[in-house]
Amino acid sequence: MTVPSNATDTHCPYCALQCAMTVTPAATGPARAGAPTPATPGPVITGRDFPTNRGGLCRKGWTAAALLGHPERVTTPLLRGRDGIHRPVPWTLALDLIADQVQRTRASHGPDAVGVFGGGGLTNEKAYQLGKFARLALGTSRIDYNGRFCMSSAAAAGNRAFGLDRGLPFPLEDLDRADAVLLLGSNVAETMPPFIQHLQGARAAGGLVVVDPRRTATADFTADGAGLHLAPVPATDLVLLLGLSHIAIHDGFADAGFVASRTAGYQAVARSVAQWWPERVQSITGVPVHLLRETVRLLAQGARGGGSYILTGRGVEQHVDGTDTATAAINLALILGLPGSANSGYGTLTGQGNGQGGREHGQKADQLPGYRKITDPAARKHVAKVWGVDPALIPGPGLPAVELLASLGKPNGVRTFFIHGANVAVSAPNASQVLKGLRALDFLVVCDFFMSETAQEADLVLPVLQWAEEEGTMTNLEGRVLRRRAALTPPLGARSELWIMAELACRLNAPSVFSADPETVFTELRAASAGGLADYSGIDYALLDSGEPAYWPYPAGSTGTPRLFLDAFAHPDGRAVLTPVSPSADPARDPLFTGATLALVTGRLLEHYQSGAQTRRVAELAGAVPRAQLLIHPLAAASRGISDGGMVTVANTRGTVRCQAKHSTAIRSDTVFLPFHFAQDENANLLTSQAIDPISGMPEFKASAVTVTALSQN
């Protein structure tokens, strides 16, 4: 296929796989006879060959251009009147109004009464500048982001074990050669379909093991001898992993040489898993002993052959014990000697488009650019120097997302709030409480390109650019920095968030410099990250444009780091740390399986992304899956009189969802599944709880107790 001269190489707007694609503006786009897209002329997307997606795209990627010229696009600042109706206002008025509101809030309630909520979909430049904007222009410590709901548990576990958190510490293509891959709580066949190509080797070797209470599309790839599907009871992943470590140690699969030379803490972990013999694990997880043993055998055998990988996803991480669960997965990997070798390893599959870069450059409450700790005096000094300010001017740590949202409108809480690239009214746990918080604010500013459910609550909505209209960088799930390029001219009236921050910084007399130019901001980010864990100092746009792969850490003068830990882990002594973990009865967690309650797990569908604010507006995707459906086993449905396709209520003390039921034997009969892409009555997060992991601040998304009742038809 010849590429038109006005085609632009960029990457998909959605998930962390960041599939490479080409965008061609409408006028000269090639005719696409037979393509199932609507005939409306719009920019044309084609898949582009790249090591991660190999030209593949999923349905979301193929249809992503439908949002660019979408009729519902917000193209002017909108101010909400006393009557609740949003009306257009000029940019100058909007920006003056915000500056005035910030100053008033600060004057009467102090700087921490202004808060910022960022997103894992923002480019590195925007994420970086947002953190700086909060700390210097707003002078607040109250900034966090939706990545707290995403990567925080695996990140905390990775830092604890390896001294560094990069989702995949190896290029994705390394998986191709592996004989065994253990995939825990990740449904890649729906969330990032082109990823499946990299599991082909493990499938051919019979070594793909998928752990999920549902027989997902990904679990289906284990059929016909390609591997195993383990379906544990929700919220028992930690016990499952302790059992696998037990088997590894007792059955003689531990890599003693590796453990001795490259790790610390093995003895304590070995003692702690001595109590988790397989039969005991079976009695808690429901996973038969022979499958546990076979899983460990496959991993150990793979490690001695083509390689073995253990990968975790949100299914095991989004729990109040998510950090400990990810730690248990890492412990298993370390016992088997996988991390830090050339053909094996542990990784976590980052979710959001820039979920990796978004957690490195300072939009986290406890963090400064370069994955630096905000409490570390040396880190503060370095960043202050780059910013040209006194380190004392940088506020201390703020509140993690769930607590930040819980503080909205409360005494000593946040009163004026900025939201960038997040739809918390749908995506945050216990959504009805979040909505209450948003409504209790003095002033809410939302930057978005659609009237998302969160934007509808805003006093002021600022229209911003979409992916194909902006320049910048994204860091994919491998820690590879990619170039996002502008293929199209943005609508008149929409502005970049960098420009908005620069304008506001000026009105607020902020110290330092706030540029509206992405490359300038990236140059500053490089300096700020220099010497940090996530060091980008050797990367520039020219390098990225040349197509050279750039994996961080990439200190100036180096060639980057495709594979981490080959010689040493990132702790001072170079050793990986095994930490004993054990399940504990968390009183904040819903007691599961009392009476007739079912366990609710939430997750994604292939056709939708995150809160659905974008994908519900794509006709092809919304047409394919227009509404939320509750997946329920026919046995559980039968005892409740629920027909296939019938309407049900899914309820607990936090809220009630009304939706259609869909019978499926692919889910445990004690468990139901709801996608979290839908709003209002169908919002799965009406049911999830604000209980959080004490280490990471991750909320409990994956195990809520619910009662399911058939809704009478009249």
């Binding site: 795209l57 999923c58 599907h229 007792h250 013999w277 039969e279």
Partner: protein
């Protein structure tokens, strides 16, 4: 508020004591508790559940360790190994050890566990107080030294005789047979695991044991052991003698005849005992608020004669799970961070630890489907030829008991349902199908069926593309987007294209 630490002395250092000590470590580090633990064995606590595995070489002594004495000492715990308590003086609140020391306590916790029952066989000394070793070639498989004896026999591919048809005996028998020994199981009664399973399951299990190579002698009455001089001239076990029939010859006799709680120190101090040391729902000895007991030596039976939980109490539960829960609870209780009483234990689930022989059972299992037991409904599935047997008993739809043999997934789910007290599905056979094939392979022929999920392309769209001349997967992909995501449907695309172009 005084700063004097609470002196807690733990008698016994098995798995339950180890959990108790772990739970108290923060209080020890903070100085709130001064903790002493006394273990009779020279090794720190290890997981006794895995002693049989150790004996057959399936694990190592290092791997079954639960505690590290040096680490505890470093944390400030006073650890006495290789000694035991001779006497408890409740009036003075002190214990006297065999090594001559005396220790004062504010709270004393018995975690003395149980010792194996030595059956009354001619040639063995059955006195529970006897500290005389068993004859050579006879072991009760309780501690590390016993494991070493079994290990030696397995290494030599020796003939092992297991006396007793209980769960521990069967586990040892199956493991030893698997690892190369030649095993005979001798038990009284018609079938093994008689306390947990019914005759049908017993028959199915016996067949499984036999097919794994084990000789099973049921309805046996063993009367004595025969000792013969070995190569070194010393007497050692050579056969288990029967009341009738031939002696069962072997090189090692493993006694698996149950355990007896170790209560003698408590009883000697005048504390109330039955089979175990009697304690209330806070694990306190009945007439001494400063003495507690937990684990295999503790029998919960309170003074309230109307207490429903205690009505059926006939001894300690003898399981590690409840013991660990008691240990955690008691540690929290003694450090004042807990006010709620210990929840009553559900009836235990018996699960055989063995490779290739899956047996799980719990609750009411003896009644058959047509037996007139009021309120009890029983469903049953038996397929002896293939070694499968399942029974489910329910009361008001709630699982009251079950047995599962040879059906691992079914057994795993029934275990969960029993422990939750869940209702069974009205269609009980649904549970049996869990051990069927993973998915329904009968694909439906539906032209609107989605072939490529990633791009959402139906079979009819692909067939239509083929009809318009697309003859390769790449061509079909270019026109329909099918196969452009994960690539998982390429095989099916190829089939559909070939089907279209195949000569009629």
């Amino acid at each position: 508020m005084t700063n004097t630490p609470l002196h807690i002395v733990v008698v016994g250092y098995g798995p339950v004591a180890a959990r108790f000590v772990d739970q108290l470590l923060p209080a020890v580090r903070s100085g709130a508790v001064a903790l002493t633990v006394i273990g009779e064995e020279s090794a720190a606590a290890y997981n006794r559940v895995l002693v049989a595995d150790l004996g057959v070489g399936r694990t190592t002594a290092a791997a079954i360790a639960l505690s590290d004495a040096a680490e505890l000492v470093a944390a400030g715990v006073n650890v006495h190994l290789g000694t035991r308590v001779l006497r408890l003086d409740r009036a003075r609140q002190q214990v006297r050890l065999a090594d001559g020391t005396s220790l004062r306590y504010s709270k004393l916790v018995f975690a003395t566990g149980a010792r194996p029952v030595v059956p009354p066989l001619h040639g063995l000394n059955p006195d529970p107080a006897a500290r005389v070793a068993l004859p050579r070639g006879v072991t009760a498989l309780r501690d590390l030294a016993d494991a070493a004896q079994l290990s030696d026999a397995v290494d030599r591919k020796a003939k092992v005789v297991v006396l007793g048809g209980g769960i521990l005996g069967l586990e040892a028998a199956l493991a030893a047979q698997d690892e190369g020994a030649s095993v005979t199981v001798v038990h009284h009664g018609t079938h093994a695991l008689a306390r947990s399973i019914d005759a049908g399951a017993g028959h199915t299990l016996a067949a499984a044991l036999r097919s794994s190579g084990i000789t099973v002698i049921s309805n046996a009455r063993s009367v004595g052991v025969q000792l013969s001089p070995g190569h070194d001239g010393e007497l050692r076990f050579s056969a288990l003698l029967q009341e009738s029939g031939a002696p069962v010859e072997g090189d090692l006799l493993v006694l698996s005849c149950g355990v007896r709680p170790r209560v003698e120190v408590a009883a000697g101090a005048g504390l109330a005992t039955d089979r175990g040391i009697l304690v209330d729902h806070r694990l306190a000895a009945l007439h001494d608020p400063n003495v507690f007991a937990m684990g295999d030596c503790a029998q919960v039976r309170c003074l309230d004669s109307d207490c429903a939980d205690c009505a059926a109490s006939d001894g300690p539960l003898g399981l590690i799970g409840p013991g660990w829960r008691q240990a955690e609870w008691l540690a929290d209780f003694l450090t004042g961070s807990l006010a709620v009483p210990l929840p009553a234990e559900r009836a235990p689930v018996m699960m055989l630890k063995a490779r290739g022989v899956d047996v799980a059972a719990a609750g009411e299992v003896q009644a058959g489907p047509f037996d007139p037991v009021p309120g009890l409904s029983v469903s049953q599935w038996a397929d002896p030829e293939h070694g499968k047997y399942v029974k489910m008993s329910t009361r008001d739809g709630v699982l009251a008991g079950f047995i599962s043999v040879g059906m691992p997934r079914t057994g795993a789910e029934l275990t969960l349902l029993f422990e939750r007290g869940s209702e069974l599905p009205a269609d009980r056979s649904a549970l049996l199908r869990l051990d069927g094939p993973d998915r329904d392979t009968a694909a439906t022929a539906d032209p609107a069926r989605t072939v490529c999920r990633c791009a959402g392309v139906a079979e009819e769209t692909i067939t239509a593309a083929a009809a318009r001349g697309c003859s390769t997967v790449a061509e079909v992909s270019a026109v329909t987007r099918a196969g452009t995501g994960c690539g998982g449907c390429h095989g099916e695309l190829k089939e559909l294209i070939e089907k279209h172009f195949a000569p009629a």
